[in-house]
């Protein structure tokens, strides 16, 4: 019932360039969300987070960048990506409106454990989004990650590789 032995030898492959094999991979992208800081006083307080990016992807203009953003900036980014790109954008950590009500036992949205939970969620969100090949084409993502200020009245556009 056995047939003749099939030829299962590997197909011919070109040998790999040693600098390709042992050099740094071209997919390096690291995003960290850290150092939450609450600014302002009384009812006008809000928390900002530092976003540090390190990469060797050519699509990012800066190979290292450091900006500060607040939660509403993340909401803006998510809205832009949903509208402009075909990406299924992941969820942000919760808005926690109930924490903004008065007469709470804890610090509400400025509670340390809540901020830490939110920080982790924002970091996961950014890593998921920034690694998406389609999201990387959106101007809003690059502005969010690398420009000093987010200009919400920008003109949405696609990034073209040089």
């Amino acid at each position: 019932m056995a047939d003749t032995i099939a030829d299962t030898r590997r197909l011919f492959t070109r040998p790999q360039n040693l600098s390709d094999a042992y050099g740094p991979p071209s997919n390096f992208l690291e995003i960290e969300v850290s150092s939450p800081e609450t600014v302002g006083v009384g009812r006008n307080r809000f928390t900002t987070y530092e976003i540090r990016l390190k990469t060797n992807l050519p699509i990012f203009k800066l190979k290292e960048s450091r900006v500060r953003r607040r939660y509403s900036d993340f909401e803006w980014l998510r809205g832009e990506l949903e509208r402009e790109s075909k990406v299924v954008v992941p969820q942000l950590p919760g808005k926690a409106l109930f924490r903004q009500l008065p007469f709470r036992g804890d610090d509400g949205i400025f509670d340390d454990s809540f901020i830490e939970e939110r920080r982790t969620g924002l970091e996961q969100f950014l890593n998921k989004v920034a690694g998406h090949p389609l999201a990387q084409n959106e101007r809003c993502l690059h502005m969010f990650l690398q420009d000093e200020i987010v200009d919400k009245s920008y003109t949405p556009s696609k990034i073209r590789q040089a």
């Binding site: 590997r10 070109r14 094999a21 071209s26 997919n27 992208l29 890593n127 998921k128």
Partner: protein
């Protein structure tokens, strides 16, 4: 399946003449069970006997005729009432009359054309069977015997490899190659994936075999996709210049030959789906159709002959590497 009415006083049985020597093949039934049936090929003669056994000896059996049919039909599950018969042969065995004792009737369907392979799928069934009928006033006595038909092919003359460069602009470029475009059911898919550009974080890569059954025409076309196999070929992140080999043995999977537009009623096609999954569970894939065909059993070469062929192949490739080394050393 035999249909028995009330007050049946006879049994009918179909026995093939070559029941002792003919091979049987396993075939899946509609409810997923596997059964063995006699195996026939196109052009083979189907001959045997129909045995009519009276249950109560002495009691006569009145009938309006005894016949046997050889039927090949296509049944669409969503249109059960309409069987489409593409082969229908009849042999009359007895004229209307009376049977006073159990009797045996010979039949022969000579060199019957069996153009398609037996197939039981998700929305369609193609089957061949013998049906013996004793016609009576109120209810007929019927006995059916299913057989399995396989269609054989010879090695295709043209069997080019599939080689293509695909990717996402500036993110991921790969070149994939499969050694053939037509594989027989116990063949091996030998191929490779060569990475030209990797700017995403790949976690692993797999190759899937997908079977697509298409039934119906015009406005009501149904596609049923079934992933027959999932085979991981790479675990970890590749870099530029890396080549990942593929070696996938088809004999381990439940496959049928590719069937294209059978009697204009249905098709069964197979695709290789190359899937890359990145660290965020995003999937990047490329589907490619392959043709599957059934090879006839050939006379086996002796084991020592086969071993000689295999070792020649191994030595051959060894020599290639050695000479490449020699050239490099001399430079």
């Amino acid at each position: 399946m035999s249909f028995f009415g009330f007050g049946q006083n006879a049994e009918i049985d179909i026995v093939l003449n070559d029941a002792d020597t003919r091979k049987k093949a396993e075939h899946k039934t509609e409810d997923g069970k596997k059964d063995k049936y006699f195996l026939f090929f196109d052009g083979e003669t189907v001959s045997g006997k129909v045995n009519v056994t009276l249950k109560t000896p002495g009691k006569r059996l009145e009938h309006y005729g005894i016949k046997i049919e050889f039927v090949g039909q296509i049944e669409l599950y969503y249109d059960r009432g309409n069987h489409h018969e593409f082969v229908s042969l009849v042999k009359d065995l007895a004229r209307p009359g009376e049977l006073s004792q159990s009797q045996s009737f010979d039949f022969e369907f000579t060199h019957v054309e069996k153009p398609y392979e037996s197939y039981t799928g998700q929305n369609v069934k193609l089957r061949y069977f013998l049906r013996a009928t004793v016609s009576r006033r109120l209810n007929d006595i019927i006995k059916e015997m299913d057989i399995v038909v396989q269609t054989l092919c010879t090695y295709p003359e043209l069997n080019s490899s599939i080689k293509m460069e695909v990717g996402i602009e500036d993110c991921l470029h790969i070149e994939f190659e499969y050694n053939k475009s037509k594989y027989h059911l116990r063949d091996v898919i030998v191929g490779k994936i060569y990475f030209l550009l990797v700017r995403i974080k790949i976690k692993h890569m797999e190759i899937d075999i997908i079977k697509r059954e298409t039934t119906g025409t015009g406005p009501s076309v149904y596609h049923e996709n079934d992933t027959i196999a999932k085979y991981e070929i790479m675990d970890g992140a590749p870099v530029r210049g890396e080549s990942i080999p593929i070696r996938l043995f088809l004999a381990g999977y439940e496959l049928t030959p590719t069937m294209r537009d059978i009697n204009k009623k249905f098709s069964v096609r197979y695709y290789l789906n190359l899937v890359l999954i990145d660290e965020e569970e995003r999937r990047y894939f490329k589907q490619q159709e392959i043709t599957l065909w059934r090879k006839g059993d050939i006379v086996r070469k002796s084991m020592s002959q086969q071993a000689a062929i295999a070792s020649q192949r191994f030595e051959g490739s060894h020599c290639e590497n050695m000479s490449a080394q020699a050239r490099e050393d001399s430079n």
